[in-house]
Amino acid sequence: MTDTTVDYHDMWRELGLDLPAHDMLLTAIPQLYQAAYLTQEGRPEGMAYFDFVMSEIHGLRIKELVDHKAAGGTVIGTFCLYVPEEIIRALGGQCVGLCAGAEWAYDEAERLLPRNTCALIKSATGFKLGKVCPYAESADLVVGETTCDGKKKAYELLGELAPVYVMELPQMKRPDDKALWRAEIDRLVAKLEEVSGRTLDADALKTATREVNDKRRALQRLNATRAARPAPISGKDALLAVQVAFYDDVPRFTGMVNRIADELEQRVSGGAGVAPADAPRVLVTGTPMAIPYWKTHDIIEKAGAVVVGEELCTGSRYYEKLVDESPDTVDGMLDAIAEKYLDINCACFTPNAGRVDDVLRLARDLDVDGIVHASLQFCGPYQIEATLVERAAKEAGYPVLRIDTDYSAEDVAQLGTRVEAFLEMLQ
């Protein structure tokens, strides 16, 4: 499928990466991937595409972005679901999630950030300071958002290292908040028009909206198959699909995910699965899981359960809701975009009863035996909201295991024991 002898070092040097450190990173990630992914049995054949993407995540994909820029396009980095990809694409941009998910250059990051900063923020800062994220180094602009205090303040520091633009995300969903958010969408358009040198037009926005919706629809199809017993795909593989959605070329990704969905639908109709039909079924909810963070799923699935759903930013929050495609004017389309994005249920909102409803609905639709609430340590919003999620889930009859963790491996044995004991409870 690929010429693995391609050497990208010249490209990485031109992007300004720290080559020796980056080489170390590129040694570490395949080892993690091997241990978590390639040891699985009965994977869908279509996952070969994701194996390929992972092998080229800092290579071919970056080459595509560099070529895209050379052809006059932009690359816009984001950290969060609330930044509308439709607008970025309509203005000739490629939207990429920036690197996090591993403890990298924490020594550098902790010169700027307190030790008790959540792993996502510390990791993203470490990747930037350590100059090992080619996505961050290719980005013409990083678009941040005010989802939490940690990110808000970290963007001020990140702004010293890269061009950063921050959207104000309200934290309630009243009419005034919606008006504020709609105005923020207009301000983002203006900023991206300035960076790209283009003007937003209706045709491009219409196309972009359809393409991004198609991506979400493909992920919806893939994830719908997981309601079957036995589950036709592991939770780890399904998680990876959403993680890669943040980086990959949109139409190509959509095509590949639809192909996997075809395969999974066939598996379901033939009664084939990746786990025994009586394996405990688990829904994971909580904070986002960026590549290469697979620890929670890996522990759960190696203990004998199968993860059948993720109520995560790298899960249902990413693909469940679509933008209304019916408006034809730019303003109408932006209204629809504003409405869809503000409808995502992140713990940064108060109140956030919609998330509890989402968890219970997924638990019911996916026929789960238990729920694992996994938060990053020091993420106040999710760690505190866990109490409400746990209470509602238990009232609805679902056992809940709460995990507070980070990107390190130091708690793997302890978490393994807790997860195994939780699965024993479900029997």
Binding site: A303, G304, E410, D411, T417, E420, A421, E424, M425
Partner: protein
């Protein structure tokens, strides 16, 4: 197998000790090998589900699997069921079935102390609070995640800082006329704090009591978080510490029960799992 006599070795492979209980199917005796009842005050013969034919406690040393191997070599068991940190390695090495410590303690409690509705296990490197469902299964549990604060190992380090033996630490605390305030629960910081308190003239007894009180507060809070109610079985090696027993009794809203050999409850539960049809069932394990 239903009518055959089955002998099961339950192994609890922990960070500080490897504990073994051999159970044989048939009428239960509820006694230890030398004839003492496992549960204080319970008459011999009160316990169903297998007779204890032997038990042992070995130091884990630097190679717990080697200690486990010595125990496996010693008995004439038909099957081995392992729990504790070394359970997965034991599954590979001895073909053992595996269950978690949480389940093992719940099973052990169900037999050794049927009236228990909750279990507190304070072992070498972790503490577990388990609320039991009415059928004896696990209703909810909590364990310390990543640090040894408030565990047996913590007490060992503090005993050393006080120049005391781990077996005399609890008695020293009970002799104190009051407690010195110990605020740190990190093993490393608490050790420095203990040394500082001694330098300021606090007695070893008062410091020892302060340490026990601090741990007991955390432990009772953990029991509350899992919703523990009703009689509590206090198990694990730390249950042998008289000061910790008294403080848990004072803090817990319910009776606190301790069996004669509290560190064997997990191994007993593992063996029971084997007797009651756990053979070859290692779901939940990586074996």
């Amino acid at each position: 197998m239903a009518n055959d006599v089955l002998t099961v070795l339950g192994l609890d492979i922990g960070s500080r000790t490897v504990d073994a209980v051999w159970l044989r199917s048939g009428a239960g005796s509820g006694e230890t090998a030398d004839g003492r009842p496992l549960l204080k005050g319970s008459p011999a013969g009160a316990v169903d589900g297998g007779a204890v034919i032997d038990s042992a406690v070995l130091d884990s040393g630097f190679d717990p699997q080697e200690a486990a191997a010595r125990l496996v070599a010693r008995g004439a068991q038909d099957i081995v069921v392992a729990t504790g940190y070394g359970r997965r390695a034991a599954a590979e090495r001895f073909g053992a079935a595996v269950i978690t410590e949480i389940k093992a303690y719940a099973l052990g409690a169900g037999q050794l102390c049927p009236e228990a509705r909750a279990v507190l296990d304070m072992g070498g490197q972790d503490t577990k609070a388990i609320a039991l469902a009415s059928d004896g299964g696990v209703d909810d549990f909590e364990m310390n995640d990543r640090c040894a604060a408030g565990t047996g190992r913590f007490l060992e380090v503090m005993a050393a800082a006080l120049g005391l033996d781990i077996d005399t630490l609890g008695r020293a605390a009970l002799r104190a006329d009051g407690a010195a305030q110990v605020s740190s629960m990190c093993t490393v910081f608490a050790e420095s704090e203990v040394v500082g308190l001694l330098h300021r003239g606090e007695s070893r007894e008062r410091v020892a009591l302060g340490l026990h009180e601090a741990i007991a507060r955390r432990t009772v809070a953990m029991l509350k978080r899992v919703g523990a109610r009703g009689p509590l079985l206090f198990a694990g090696g730390v249950a042998r510490n008289p000061a910790m027993r008294r403080l848990v009794e004072e803090g817990y809203d319910g009776s606190v029960l301790v069996v004669a050999e509290p560190q064997l409850v997990g191994a007993h539960g593992a063996a029971l799992h084997g007797l009651t049809g756990g053979r070859g069932r290692a779901r939940g394990g990586r074996a």
